[in-house]
Symmetry: C2
């Protein structure tokens, strides 16, 4: 298939995809930005909109016990290992319209491109609308994708959404899922070997593509992480006038922790070892704090990520050493609470090479970057599914209302996926 035909087939998706993005924005509107709360009303509206669009394209619509959405273009051999193209349809609170949704719409655009070109692949292509990827809500990673693969961690169904206080099982049931079936071992993908490949397009969540002036990047790896979603520091509330030597100030202890991590990160950066470290929640206790009170309690969340399991283990060791020093110096106690972790996601070398070849054929100069963020693709990779990702240029980062991806760039990324599919699969006319 020549590049011109691929470009034309993808360009034909500009208007329907723009309309679909617009509808998703309206569905999720929660100024500032959009909120597609997982297993809640926001995500539910997005699933309905996408399923309706897929049904109009003639795709088969099914759902699994985790309430993930599958939109299938049948292949010539319905029993052959599948190609899954997917991403998630939830968002952070007051997030942007593209983080997640762009990957699902890219899958639909690829399928529509194949339809436009009049070709049928040798296997089913499944566009997957994944549930609950944003861990800010349930503080568990990859709920939908791991639910489909049977790799959810123990106890995940009992965790509570931070805003509603209700369990994942409860929310899932409300959205048409069956948590009891999941608990009993039900899974949509009982055999990962029956998935030929998992592809995901996602907006870049950093400005590397903007800096480089390119529209598309091919992913070289997805970071693993360790996380403490609900840690706290115990000091002592005291009067604003208390001399320094008597204080056990939990907030200043938190500040010292943050600066120690910041210094550690700067050192890794200088040595060229990629990692990231985020204290997303970082706060005194709203019920107790005030202008004239030395803070006796402090709360934080910590996410530390890297692309190498050994680097990650070394960082965890260093975090504990930093904490010991602060506890000794400041008379406070850290209580880290439950630790969560996600494995490093390795990209399949053949898929990475295929995506680079597709971009070259389309004359799109690409960057090669490690994903700054976690993605469902890592859950498929961890289950043994060959995995690859494409990033699309995006201004203003993500997880905020100001995400900005142009349709031109989106269509570039989608063209790379379509070109790859046409090369990697055996497609026949009609």
């Amino acid at each position: 298939m020549d590049a011109t035909a691929v470009r034309a087939a993808i360009q034909a998706q500009r208007e329907p995809m723009q309309a679909l993005f617009d509808q998703l924005r309206l569905d999720g509107l929660d100024e500032p930005g959009v909120s597609r709360d997982p297993y809640g009303a926001g995500e539910q509206r997005a699933h309905a909109t996408v399923a309706n669009a897929a049904a109009a394209m003639g795709l088969e619509i099914t759902r699994d016990d985790a309430a993930n959405l599958y939109m299938t273009l049948p292949g010539r051999d319905r029993s052959a290992p599948l190609l899954v193209i997917g991403s998630h349809l939830d968002s952070v609170p007051h997030g942007g319209n593209f983080d997640g949704a762009a990957g699902v719409l890219a899958g639909l655009a690829v399928v529509a491109g194949l339809q436009k070109l009049g070709v049928t692949p040798d296997c089913d292509i499944v566009v997957m609308g994944i549930r609950a990827e944003e861990s800010v809500w349930f503080q568990v990673s990859y709920i939908g994708s791991r639910g489909s693969l049977g790799t959810l961690p123990d106890g995940a169904l009992d965790v509570r959404r931070v805003d509603t206080g209700r369990t994942l099982a409860d929310h899932m049931t409300e959205c048409g899922g069956d948590p009891d079936a999941l608990l009993a071992g039900s899974r949509h993908f009982p055999d990962p070997a029956k998935i030929r490949a998992y592809l995901e397009l996602h907006i870049e969540q950093a400005p590397s593509l903007i800096e480089a002036g390119r529209s598309v990047a091919v992913c070289t790896g997805i970071p693993g992480n360790f996380r403490f979603a609900d840690a706290r520091i115990e000091g002592q509330n005291d009067h604003v006038g208390l001399p320094r030597r008597f204080r056990r100030d939990a907030a200043v202890a938190g500040a010292e922790f943050a600066m120690a991590l910041d210094t550690l990160w700067a050192d890794y950066d200088a040595r060229g070892i990629p990692m990231a470290c985020t204290l997303g929640r970082f706060h005194t206790d709203a019920a107790m704090h005030g202008l004239t009170i030395v803070p006796g309690g402090f709360h934080f969340s910590l996410d530390v990520r890297a692309y190498d399991a050994a680097v990650l283990a070394g960082l965890e060791e260093k975090v504990h050493r930093i904490i010991e020093g602060i506890e000794q110096r400041r008379g406070v106690r850290f209580h880290l609470g439950t630790k969560a972790r996600a494995a490093v996601g390795l990209v399949d070398p053949a898929i990475q090479a295929g995506l680079e070849a597709a971009a070259a054929a389309l004359e799109l100069p690409v960057l090669h970057i490690g994903s700054p963020a976690s993605h469902d693709a890592a859950a498929f990779g961890a289950a043994g599914v060959p995995m690859g990702m494409v990033f699309v240029r995006n201004a203003n980062g993500s997880h905020n209302p100001h995400e900005a991806m142009t349709m031109d760039d989106f269509l570039d990324g989608t063209a790379v996926l379509l070109h790859w599919a046409l090369s990697a699969l055996t497609c026949s006319n009609g």
Copy 2:
């Protein structure tokens, strides 16, 4: 008057004062600790309890337009300049039972001691139950005392209580005050020269007396301060995976600010220049923050205090320099909001010497300490009233539920006040 008689007169107050403290604790109970919210239900109950006790002692009960409480033992010459012994009856949220209330009860105990000794002073002694000293609520210092002196800052009546969102004028009216009269120039003490002295007993809010093994300290000065009650840092919300060089993390900027102030304070400490610095509120934005979001907004309150106006001015300059550096390094903006300030409170040397002599006569070894905290005494001092303070040993600091002052120590402090009054005033039998 010999020390033994003074001690006996004060010891006789042990049980009634213990009962009064117990009643105040019950009145304010709000586990953990007590909440006597100023110009609200909590403070109102404390005023009623104290006024009832004073009425039972035969004192004259009056109130002013700021709803302060005056409990007067008439002197021989009703027109002579007054002795005021007072403190405040409000508390921080979930505070202890002694911060403030101990000073009012000490005034009652001194008056009861004079009654017990059967002497009448040459001037009225006014025990003052002051309103709204704890600035955590309205974020304005010394509301009751400055209301009585006519030195409230412009606009103070329009500020809103942080928990109710209602104005000081509104709260004051509800508690029997008359904010319009205050605005029109009404003041309980139109001429500070008509106040002979203002004395205040207060628990020590640091553990200096505990360290020294003494029960009582004589105050050498009250710090002035500058404050930003509602400051914020503006950065950018981003995704948890964003590389370091792209981040505008408002929380890490806050952490750097806190650590710079901590280092500054350590340096002043090392040079023997007393000051204190507190970030009482120090927090990410609860509506936006989360495990996987780089914090784009951060909020804090700042209180910086010192005993010397020039030191204070120098510190303020340094705070601004620190902020400029962080803004440049981290791509964030600080918005400090409204600044409040309180003048340094100078203790009257003759009163300080008199209190030391009284303690010596009672064979109480005293410490001489600068007040760690602000006190209504500073407002009287600033108005030109000769002022002095006595601190009483207290464990576990203040502004928390665990304040711990023993009745023995309270009676020691009260005995110093009574001995001073008997020496400083001309008291006659009957």
